[in-house]
Symmetry: C2
Subunit: 304 residues, 2 copies
């Protein structure tokens, strides 16, 4: 595997790959890779000839009081995991390389950013959309892979790609969990043993919610209050948000047949974790193991 | 020449061209083509194998009380002129094709849009940046051609391309003028004979200004007041703005050695015309006939 730190260097290598007619897949990450990332890389390697993993802790998507400085980093371990999973290139640019001068251009996606992390973390998704668009323009991948743990992020990027005719196919991939249910996250490393145990309330409550919907309950207000109740029953949990929304528009559910997403952000100590469950009208998990494409997803261009 | 109205149709034709290793040039226009556009197409044809001219009156860049509905259109004449100038493809999408659903994604460029048309036409450059980025993503050209009559537009697009790592080379081309000096514009067709004559005050005053700078005058405030005075002396001219700015940042001139742009927007009747002159520290026109690349232009990616 090649470690590349400059945009020019990466472009040169990829131009040669494209001249050979090879298909390029991109897995954008902030590093400190875990099995969730590994699953994206593995999937990308199944579908593409050349897999680029980018590792860049993007300052633009962190708020002033967030964890930019203490965000965990371990490039050597990242390189090992990326290699093992099938990546050909690890792209690891400096902030100076990505933002050589003041960033005057902002990409904003409205509506799908009104709630959830969009509301809790002002400016966060502008930062995400901008850096992802930069990475897409640098790598020009055929396919780009995102984990569905960051459900709203997938929605934001999908909408950006569709609105701006970006010629890439987005591949959303299922959340990978610890054996006990905790969603894999680079931030799990922050958790104390006690918080780690308490955090199980998220996946457990989401599983209970799914059962409730399967049993026929479709009243969003009721679902939301039950979910809130369950999570609040854990004394170490401090809720940032608990919402039941239309899974595509990320707006309040307007009809009983809509697919819904139950999305939560909860602090355990100083650590903010997110998780979600997408559930269709019959109460089935929306992302079945054999089909993790977003249904009704917006028109996407294909790089030709 | 091929007339293509769908994004998918255009992508298909261009994918084939790229497979053959052909270089693609894009000339984005709002149609009602004149010799200014022709010069861009001719230049593109000199430098690229396949020239795409897009004709799209972009609703997103017009304000609520602007001339979107009466903007002049003549596709047949456009097709003739584009063919004669060397275009291989005229891309003429409908508004529905370009904006199939509500546009939730906005591309904004700060700072260089604070003044001039950015101040006079709120939201205008968001609309320009967004549609140009869409066209770049649809066509994936090696080079894209813009006329320097829309000086601020060139600055906005250059900054967007640089900030977002869009892999295209921007080629700014000199303003084309009528024999008497009036800058070519699709909007000139709106002018009454009397206004047409009065509008010469713009190019005449800009030429006088250039002489003044050549003679050693570098005081921006004084230059601005002389230029305003000269234009105001024309009774049919109603000034929107007259400004002397740093030619790169489009901010007030901070030192005497900066290249400056004198930019004006003036109404004649209901018709708003713009014109500009870029002048370097020695009073030389900044864009000499033999070199119309923007000096000190921001780093630009190259599609590889």
């Amino acid at each position: 595997m090649q470690l590349i730190e400059t945009i020019a260097g990466l472009r040169e290598v990829l131009a040669e790959a494209r001249r050979q007619g090879l298909k390029v897949g991109l897995v954008p990450t902030m590093g400190y890779l875990h099995e969730g990332h590994a699953s994206l890389i593995t999937r990308a390697k199944e579908e593409c000839d050349v897999v680029v993993v980018s590792v860049f802790v993007n300052p633009l998507q962190f708020g002033p009081h967030e964890d930019l400085d203490r965000y965990p980093r371990d490039l050597e371990r990242d390189a090992q995991l990326a290699t093992k999973s099938g990546a050909a290139i690890l792209f690891h640019p400096s902030a100076q390389e990505m933002y050589p001068s003041q960033v005057l251009t902002t990409v904003s996606v409205q509506q799908v950013t009104d709630r959830l992390c969009g509301a809790s973390r002002p400016g966060h998704f502008d930062g995400v959309a901008t850096v992802v668009l930069k990475l897409l323009n640098i790598v020009l991948p055929d396919r780009v892979y995102f984990g569905l743990k960051d459900y709203q992020q997938v929605r934001v990027i999908s909408r950006m790609v569709s609105d701006l005719n970006v010629p890439v196919q987005i591949v959303p991939c299922p959340t990978i969990r610890e054996p006990d249910g905790l969603a894999k996250s680079s931030r799990n490393v922050y958790l104390t043993a006690q918080d780690r145990q308490a955090a199980l309330v998220l996946s457990n409550s989401l599983r209970e919610l799914q059962k409730l919907v399967s049993a026929g309950e479709r009243n969003a207000a009721l679902l939301q209050s039950r979910l809130t109740e369950w999570i609040s029953s854990e004394p170490l949990a401090r809720i940032d948000y608990v919402e039941i929304l239309d899974s595509e528009k990320l707006e309040p559910v307007s009809c009983e047949t809509a697919e819904i997403v139950a999305a939560v952000a909860v602090y355990f100590g100083q650590t903010r974790l997110i998780d979600n469950a997408v559930i269709d009208a019959e109460g089935r998990p929306f992302y079945a193991a054999d089909s993790n494409e977003i249904k009704n997803s917006s028109r996407q261009g294909n790089r030709s």
